[in-house]
């Protein structure tokens, strides 16, 4: 690993100032992705600003929801009583990600900020527009088994690796950030961005902005929820396709639905049209299949990931069936 400067501010402002002042400074929290990337020479910050002394670890009840501090550990959120009671979908998604050791280290903010696991991004000998803008996309014509079927550009077809973020997208969470211009709130679905012409930029955070917390509004998704993750081994692997499904069912009719997919796009992929297709319909496999068809409109595969065009709708149907308990 290359050398870097290190500081450990105790105040939010000092942390933000450090990033504003220094073009090549980065925040570090759990470090589970950043240190990995630094060892491989993919990222090389000249200064690390350790934010672990900032008071951002609490998980607490707010007026109309739950506020999770950006430094709350993935494990602490997944085990939290309030989360298990009010937002079990999030706990499921968190436990589907990484390993027990990594969940003990990784923070909520860091989970959102993790980089893609595209092999071209990780291999510094190969071209990648995300790692080295303008060098080309190796995956476009190369091995693209794990890559996007929605929202990609001709510059980048990578997918976002976070499970937690898929659930938070479905749950209509909001991200609270603080920066040189003060605090602002970003709807979770707008936090990550599509690659477009600038795949090197993963999120809509501005320079020096620090994630403070994630707010999840209360919603009646406590019983009929399911996070289904399909991967190449039973545990501890990134998703090929994952689905976060939440239903509010009354008298066998779907009152409200939330759906988001992982492993299919550069950002967590909210399935708004499919959600609309579910509302007012009876709980049945036929209803779920129709919604999956709606969800898949506009999907396009590459040479090695055409299997996702079948796997994704099947995963949607299965997640909804488990959520509705009709398996």
């Amino acid at each position: 690993m290359i050398q870097f400067q290190y500081m450990r501010p105790t105040k939010e402002k000092a942390a933000i100032d450090a990033l504003v002042k220094d073009q090549n400074a980065m925040f570090i929290a759990g470090g589970t992705n950043l240190i990995d990337l630094m060892k491989r020479g993919i990222m090389a910050p000249e200064k690390l600003v350790d934010i672990n002394k900032l008071p951002l670890r609490k998980i607490e009840k707010e007026n109309n929801g739950i506020r999770i501090g950006a430094l709350a550990l993935n494990r602490d959120v997944a085990d939290d009583k309030l989360i298990l009671e009010k937002q079990p979908l999030l706990a499921q998604a968190l436990n589907a990600g990484a390993s027990a050791q990594l969940r003990n280290m990784a923070t909520v903010g860091g989970n959102m900020m993790q980089r893609t696991r595209c092999y071209y991004f990780y291999d510094t000998a190969l071209p990648c527009n995300k790692r080295e803008p303008g060098s080309g996309c190796g995956a476009l014509e190369g091995f693209n088994r794990m890559h996007a079927i929605f929202g990609f550009s001709n510059k980048c077809i990578a997918v976002h690796p976070s499970d937690m973020s898929v659930a938070l997208t479905a749950l209509d969470a909001t991200v609270l950030v603080s920066g040189p211009k003060g605090e602002r709130r970003i709807p979770f679905g707008d936090f990550h961005r599509l690659p477009g012409d600038q795949p090197e930029i993963d999120t809509n955070l501005e320079k020096g902005e620090l994630i403070l917390a994630v707010d999840i509004p209360d919603a009646p998704f406590t019983k009929n929820v399911h996070y289904l993750k399909v991967r190449e081994r039973a545990s501890y692997a990134f998703a090929l396709v994952s689905v976060a499904a939440a239903l509010n069912i009354e008298n066998n009719t779907i009152k409200d639905a939330r759906l988001a997919m992982g492993g299919v796009a550069h950002k967590p992929w909210r399935l708004s049209a499919a959600e609309k297709a579910l509302v007012g319909k009876p709980v049945s496999e036929a209803t779920f299949k129709e919604a999956a068809d709606v969800a898949m409109q506009g999907a396009k595969a590459f040479k090695h990931n055409a299997y996702k065009l079948k796997l994704a709708p099947n995963t949607i149907v299965q997640a909804l069936k488990v959520a509705a308990a009709i398996t």
Partner: protein, 212 residues
Amino acid sequence: MADKRSCEGADENCNQHNEARRHFLKQTSLLTAMALAPPTLMKAGELDEKVAAAFEKVKVTLEINGKKQKVAVEPRETLLDFLREKQNLTGTKKGCDYGQCGACTVHVNGERVLSCLSLAVMQDGKKITTIEGLADGDKLHPMQEAFIKHDGFQCGYCTPGQIMSAVACIREGRASSEDEIREFMSGNICRCGAYPNIVNAIMEVKNGGQKV
């Protein structure tokens, strides 16, 4: 595409490339100068707003296997390298060094973490337990006994990480069934394939009700 190495023209790409190279050279000479300067020490308390320079060692206090000590670490030193190279605690293994295998698992403040993805400087004030700190003198920890009894290893390289993880798995209350153990031990890879025996060892310790 133009060959970057023969880039001598005045087009924009070349200029960008030259800029990058200049930056690199500046960095390199700066680092060389820093390397030649005598090493300095910073106390962790001073790091609140100040910055530890790249080669500057930082004093941290760590409790390693019950022994509190003050040590000086470079910011880039991982906890794994620090334990193995500076503390001679070579029981903790370097497998992949990228957080994929679990061989480097240790406990920090009682929780299992990957020491290869932890910076030593970030552990200031924490309690570290390695496989060397698990036994009570010559008396092995129940999990160590169980791994021997159930043949929970072949080559043994992943074993310290497996055992540290297994102890935490029970403490976390995630060892109530074989399936749950497999899920919550999935961060520890065993290339010899001793998994069934590892699961048996954990089940026995769990069901034996001994304090872990």
